[in-house]
Subunit: 269 residues, 2 copies
DNA sequence: CGTGCCGTATCGCTGTACGATACAATCGTA
DNA sequence: TACGATTGTATCGTACAGCGATACGGCACG
């Protein structure tokens, strides 16, 4: 059996355990800490591995896993070789998407956009330094795992991220750049602060942002931001295509109006 | 702002709180109980509503919500009118899908199937009395909300469910029928035990199962089961189309071979 | 056939989480 | 603009839930 191992670029926020907040229930934190261990793992985990990775003792891991298992949030692996996340998690994912007003507003627009563009169309939501994909309408080309809901990418080096930063003040942009763990995900990833700022300025002028192979070799993506009523950027719409079928200029000329229009439609309700 | 209200047919298992298991951490159970409150709700909830619905006091709700909020599993609604599930949930959903070997095996086959069938293609996984959609490749027609990952449907009245029951013994089928809350979701939903059993026998003979408008008006679905190495049915592959474009016979003749082939490909690795 | 490491079970002590209650801020109605 | 209902927030002493060290049996590996 094969397990998908694709890394997540370490952009996930490390849940910093809160000191002595009298309302903070650490048993809950431990439970979610344990569940989060799977973020870093590409395979089923044993009790000891879970305990070690979560930074809790073996006994704690035992209790937590036992409890989560009763409730369906953790399962034994099919061949009894460790634990994996449980199916009940999907129930909550559905709740999240269903109750997120942005997703609700965006989804008909996305469908329409997908029909017109005939390329992959994504909706991503901002979570501090990263973007999390909340809706994905794939083209014929991709594999399912390349387009998982819940996948996350850094803000600093993505089209969507730059579209978002374009709607922020310089100070906030600098803060994001500074706090981001900027690594070269591909050889083309832009990690230099000044270059990033230049890209953001470019996005401000054009009203959309572009990224070329910064996350995935051969992929070109264009994005426009989605804004709250007060102008705060909350997420982005993306169109992604393959450089084997498009050159950057043509791609841009063709899809910039579409993605801009779609974002506009969402922003003014 | 509109919130999606579509009911879930009450098939979700009620987490029965375990009596006095010495390893059971009830603080964790309470937390997930609180999160699960959103399953039944179509709108943001206040602290009091959460406390009431989860069957815990207001103080408990306060602590739990506070904690989950710190960790990103609950958020304030955009217009400050209550709480909604938080985005961190999506991280876990991704983990689940990524680590589920069935999803991994099925996904390339599903993509291929979607290309050939040009109708909606789904993968669902069994959870006791219900099927939960784990992968959905929509056609042009649907809205995004009609095809959410995590949506669940009952086994007793769906094509996928009957495809699964076809691979069970009669006793187990009867048990499922007995324990299911059989309600008419549409006027066409089959709820009579004998008729269900007949449909299951039919599925056994054909190797695939059919359902006509039992969940959604105007929808026809065909499904084949996915099996573990020992023959236990774990889930199903579906193809779903619209009766405005297909009559049942044609649909069946066209897609039965495709869905059977796909399921076969998955079953023998 | 032994030796790891797996998951499971046990058991007193301590400190965590409990829930009643009181407070503050906000909304919406008149 | 003032009111009353409902929201989220803060406090506090006590009981018991969860802590973690440790010990057990079993399965899979060499």
């Amino acid at each position: 059996m094969r397990y998908i191992q694709r890394a997540e670029y370490g952009v996930r926020p490390t849940t910093h355990i809160d000191e002595d907040d009298p309302l903070f229930v650490q048993a809950i934190a431990r439970a979610l800490q344990v569940l989060s261990v799977f973020h870093e793992s590409g395979k089923p985990l044993t009790l000891n591995e879970i305990g070690a990775a979560a930074g809790v003792g073996k006994s704690a891991a035992q209790r937590v896993v036992h409890t989560l298992r009763q409730l369906g949030y953790i399962e034994r692996d099919a061949n009894d070789r460790g634990y994996v996340p449980g199916i009940r998690i999907l129930d909550h994912a559905r709740d999240y998407l269903r109750l997120n007003p942005l997703v609700a507003r965006a989804s008909p627009v996305l469908m329409e956009l997908r029909r017109n563009a005939r390329e992959r169309v994504d909706l991503s939501l901002r979570d501090d330094l990263r973007l999390i994909y909340a809706a994905r309408l794939q083209s014929k080309r991709e594999t399912f795992f390349a387009t998982l809901i819940g996948q996350s990418v850094p803000i600093y080096c993505t089209s969507g991220g730059r579209a978002i930063m374009a709607h922020m003040g310089d100070a906030e942009v600098d803060d994001i750049i500074a706090r981001s763990d900027r690594r070269e995900i591909t050889p083309k990833t832009i990690t230099d602060p000044d270059q990033i700022r230049a890209k953001v300025r470019e996005a401000r002028e054009h009203g959309y942002a572009l990224a070329l192979e910064e996350i995935l070799q051969g992929e070109i993506a264009i994005a426009a931001a989605i804004l709250a009523a007060d102008g705060t950027p909350l997420g982005a719409i993306h169109i992604a295509g393959s450089l084997s079928e498009w050159d950057a200029d043509t791609f841009c000329r063709r899809f910039a109006p579409l993605v801009g229009e779609a974002a506009g439609a969402i922003n003014r309700f």
